[in-house]
C-alpha cells in the first residue's frame, strides 16, 4: 500500500501489518525486517515509513486510571484526542500536549513531542511514568526512570527504533476549568519578540507566530500567544467537528504573493499591542486540527516542515541570519512558529534544548531542497539541531553534529539487535 508521512513526501509502497494482540504481535512482525511502528501518521517526514509498517492504532484501549494521582495506563495506539474527550470533562488535561491532538501516546513518546509549556514543564516524556516495550527478541520490558532506565531514555525520542511501545502510564494534570485565558502580544521586531518571551515566561503556555515576510527593522515581528487555564469555570468540553480539506489544492495557490498577503493580514488583524480573551482548549492548543487534512492545502506534495532549535546564546543572531538568508533567496514560509524551550532532558535523541526553536513550512521544490542544505550548515555552525519528527532529508553529518548522544543510541541499538529488525527510511539515512 502506498503511504507517506504527514508532509506527503516521500511516498513509498509498504506492507501494512495491523496490531492485533500482544500475544500474536511478535509472530506477526518477526519476519518483516525492516519494520517500524506507526501511530496516527502525523510525523511529517520518513520516520514512520519502512518496507513494513506496524499500525498500532488498533491498540487503543485505556487500561487503568487512578482518580487521585491522575495516572492513566493505556495502550500505545490511544490518541491524545481520546484522552481529552474522556478526561477534560472530569478536570484533567495532558501535562504536555503537542500542537495536534491527533497523535498516539506511543508516537508522542517516540518523538518526545513538546508543547507550549516546554519552558516550564519539559517534553512529553516528563509526563511518562513508565511504558512496556517489546524488544526485537519478543521479550517485553517495563521501562521507567528507575527500571531499565537506559531503554527508557533511548525510547523517549527514539523514533520507534528501540521497539514497540505496547502500553504506557502517563500523568495527567488537574485543571480548574476547560478554558484558557489568552493574551496576544504584538511585537514589532525580532528583539521585541524575544523580549516578550522572557517577560511572559511565568505564563505556563507560550508560542509565537512570526511574520517571515517582514524585512528590515520589522524582521522577526509577530504575535506572541500566552495563556493559562482559568481558575474558575466549568469543564464543558465538546470537541469541534472538523472540516475536511477535500482535495489537494493546486500548489500554485501558495506563492510569494499570497504568502506575503496572508502574513500581513494576519499580523494586522490584531490592532492592539496586547489583547486578552477567553478561549477553548481546541482553539488555543489545536488550531490546525479544525482542518482535517490541512496538509492538502500545500498541494499534491504537501508541506515540507523544517524545525530547528539553536542554543539560547546563539538564538537571536542565528535566527536573524536564517530569516535574512531565506528572504535574500526570495523564499518565504507561509507560517513561522517560534518558541522558547526550557532545559534539555536526559533522553538520547530528544529534540528540545534550551534556546529558541523555529518551525517553518515550505512548498517542496528543488530550490528549497538545496537552500535547506545551506540552512543545515548554518544550524550546525550555531550549535543547533533539527527535529527528527519533521525530517525527511537531513544528512548523517548534520544529524551527528546536532545530536551528541547519537553514538550511544547506536550502541544500544546494536546491543539489543534493534537495528536488525526496527528500521525506518530515516534510520537508514542517518545510519542509526
Amino acid at each position: 500500500m502506498k503511504i507517506s508521512g504527514w508532509g506527503r513526501y516521500p511516498v513509498i509502497d509498504s506492507d501494512i501489518i495491523h496490531y492485533h494482540s500482544e500475544d500474536s504481535l511478535f509472530k506477526s512482525i518477526d519476519k518483516h525486517e525492516p519494520i517500524i511502528a506507526h501511530g496516527f501518521g502525523r510525523s511529517y517526514g520518513d520516520s514512520a515509513l519502512s518496507e513494513s509498517i506496524l499500525k498500532m492504532r488498533p491498540a487503543k484501549r485505556m487500561l487503568q486510571f487512578d482518580q487521585v494521582s491522575g495516572r492513566l495506563t493505556c495502550e500505545g495506539g490511544v490518541l491524545l484526542s481520546e484522552i481529552l474527550k474522556t478526561f477534560l470533562p472530569r478536570g484533567w488535561f495532558l501535562k504536555v500536549s503537542p500542537g495536534t491532538k491527533f497523535v498516539t501516546v506511543g508516537g508522542a513518546i517516540a518523538s518526545d513531542v513538546h508543547g507550549k509549556n516546554h519552558h516550564q514543564t519539559g517534553a512529553f516524556s516528563e509526563s511518562v511514568s513508565e511504558f512496556s516495550l517489546m524488544l526485537p527478541n519478543g521479550s517485553v520490558k517495563t521501562c521507567s526512570r528507575s527500571e531499565n532506565k537506559e531503554l527508557f531514555h533511548a525510547t523517549c525520542g527514539g523514533m520507534g527504533l528501540t521497539g514497540i511501545i505496547l502500553k504506557a502510564t502517563i500523568k495527567l494534570q488537574k485543571v480548574q476549568s476547560s478554558t484558557i485565558s489568552q493574551q496576544v502580544i504584538k511585537t514589532a521586531s525580532l528583539r521585541e519578540t524575544f523580549q516578550a518571551f522572557e517577560k511572559f515566561s511565568d505564563e505556563p503556555y507560550s508560542v509565537a507566530w512570526m511574520d517571515c515576510t517582514a524585512t528590515g527593522d520589522s524582521l522577526g515581528r509577530g504575535l506572541l500567544n500566552v495563556g493559562h487555564f482559568n481558575d474558575v469555570g466549568d469543564f464543558n468540553y465538546k470537541p469541534p467537528g472538523n472540516f475536511e480539506v477535500p482535495i489537494a489544492f493546486p500548489s500554485f495557490l501558495i506563492n510569494n504573493g499570497s504568502i506575503k498577503l496572508f502574513n500581513q493580514f494576519y499580523y494586522n488583524k490584531n490592532f492592539k499591542k496586547v489583547s486578552n480573551s477567553k478561549v477553548s482548549v481546541d482553539s488555543f492548543f489545536y488550531p490546525l486540527d479544525k482542518l482535517k487534512n490541512w496538509n492538502r492545502l500545500y498541494g499534491q506534495k504537501g508541506p515540507l516542515q523544517y524545525q530547528f532549535v539553536l542554543p539560547k546564546e546563539n538564538s537571536f543572531e542565528g535566527i536573524k541570519e536564517i530569516l535574512t538568508y531565506l528572504q535574500r533567496n526570495n523564499v518565504y514560509s507561509p507560517l513561522g512558529v517560534l518558541k522558547l524551550f526550557g532545559k534539555q532532558n536526559k533522553n538520547l535523541l530528544s529534540f528540545p534544548m534550551e534556546g529558541y526553536t523555529l518551525a517553518l513550512d515550505f512548498k517542496v521544490d528543488d530550490k528549497i531542497l538545496s537552500l535547506l542544505n545551506d540552512l543545515d550548515k548554518k544550524i550546525t555552525e550555531w550549535g543547533g539541531r533539527i527535529y527528527l519528527a519533521k525530517d525527511s532529508r537531513m544528512s548523517e553529518e548534520v544529524f551527528d553534529s546536532g545530536y551528541p548522544k547519537a553514538d550511544k543510541f547506536r550502541s544500544i541499538r546494536e546491543h539489543y539487535g534493534m537495528n536488525e529488525l526496527f528500521n525506518s527510511l530515516q534510520s537508514k539515512r542517518l545510519n542509526l
Binding site: H18, H20, S21, P58, K60, R61, M62, L63, Q64, F65, L72, E75, E82, T86
Partner: protein, 245 residues
C-alpha cells in the same frame, strides 16, 4: 447510578465492542462474555474508564452447550437485554473437505445461539422484561457457493430469530435481527471491500442502539443492503445456479 445491565455474548468482536461502547455511553452497565478473557478484560477497562459504568467479564464458549445453563444462572445480575454477537466465519473450502470445520461453523452460529437464547428467552418471559438482539448476516439470505456453510448457519439463525420474535411479541419482549452487510473488521482486514457499502463497526453499534430504541425488527446497517439482497433473492434459481457471485 443506573442499574440496567446488558449482556453481550461474543463481546470481543469489533462489532460487539463498538456496540458495547454505544450502550455504555448511554449509561448501560455491561456483562461481557467471550472465550478470550484476557482481551475482554482490556475491553472492559476501556469502557469503564471512558463511560464510567460498571462492566463485568465472563468466560463463555458458544459451542460448549452444556455450560450454557450454569453460565446464565451464575451471572451476578440478570440482564435487561442481550446481544448475541458471536459467530464463526470459517473457511468454506476447508469446510467442504473437513466436516469438523463445517460442524464448528454450524455449532457456533446456529446450535450455540439456539442453546443460549432459549435459556434467556425463558428467563425474559418469566420476568416479563428484556430485549434480544441477534447479529446474523446477509449471507444467510441466499446460499452462495463462496460461503454456503456459513451462510446456511446464518440462514438458520435468522429463521430462528424470526420465530422467536413472534413468540415473544406476546409478552412484549423485543427481538431484533441485525444484518450488517460488509463491515471493516479484523475478520475482513485483508479483503478489498467496496467503500460505499462497507460500514465501520461503530456504524453497526450506533444502528443497533437506535434500532433498540425504535424497536425495529430487522435492520440492515446501510439501507442499500435491503435492496441488494432483494435483487439477489429475486434471481430465479435456474439462472442463479449458473452465476459466479
Amino acid at each position: 447510578m443506573n442499574d440496567r445491565w446488558l449482556l453481550i455474548l461474543g463481546a470481543n468482536s469489533d462489532i460487539a465492542v463498538e456496540t458495547a461502547h454505544q450502550f455504555a455511553k448511554n449509561s448501560w452497565n455491561l456483562l461481557l462474555a467471550s472465550r478470550d478473557i484476557s482481551n475482554l478484560n482490556k475491553v472492559a477497562s476501556d469502557i469503564e474508564i471512558k463511560h464510567q459504568v460498571r462492566v463485568k467479564t465472563f468466560e463463555f464458549d458458544a459451542s460448549d452447550f452444556k455450560s450454557h445453563n450454569s453460565f446464565y444462572e451464575n451471572l451476578p445480575y440478570k440482564p435487561d437485554g442481550v446481544i448475541l454477537a458471536f459467530g464463526y466465519l470459517g473457511d468454506q473450502q476447508r469446510a467442504q473437505k473437513n466436516f469438523g470445520e463445517a460442524k464448528k461453523t454450524l455449532d457456533t452460529n446456529f446450535t450455540g445461539a439456539v442453546s443460549i437464547l432459549e435459556i434467556i428467552a425463558e428467563d425474559f418471559t418469566e420476568r416479563k422484561t428484556g430485549f434480544i438482539v441477534g447479529i446474523s448476516s446477509v449471507a444467510g439470505e441466499r446460499g452462495r457457493q463462496e460461503n454456503y456453510i456459513y451462510g446456511s448457519s446464518k440462514a438458520g439463525f435468522s429463521a430462528y430469530l424470526s420465530g422467536l420474535r413472534q413468540r415473544l411479541y406476546k409478552v412484549d419482549i423485543h427481538v431484533m435481527t441485525v444484518k450488517p452487510g460488509f463491515v471493516r473488521t479484523k475478520m475482513t482486514l485483508n479483503r478489498d471491500l467496496p467503500g460505499m457499502i462497507t460500514a465501520d463497526p461503530k456504524d453497526v453499534g450506533i444502528a443497533i442502539y437506535k434500532g433498540i430504541l425504535k424497536k425495529r425488527n430487522i435492520i440492515y446497517v446501510y439501507p442499500v443492503w435491503r435492496l441488494i439482497m432483494f435483487i439477489v433473492k429475486s434471481i430465479p434459481e435456474t439462472i442463479f445456479r449458473r452465476l459466479d457471485i
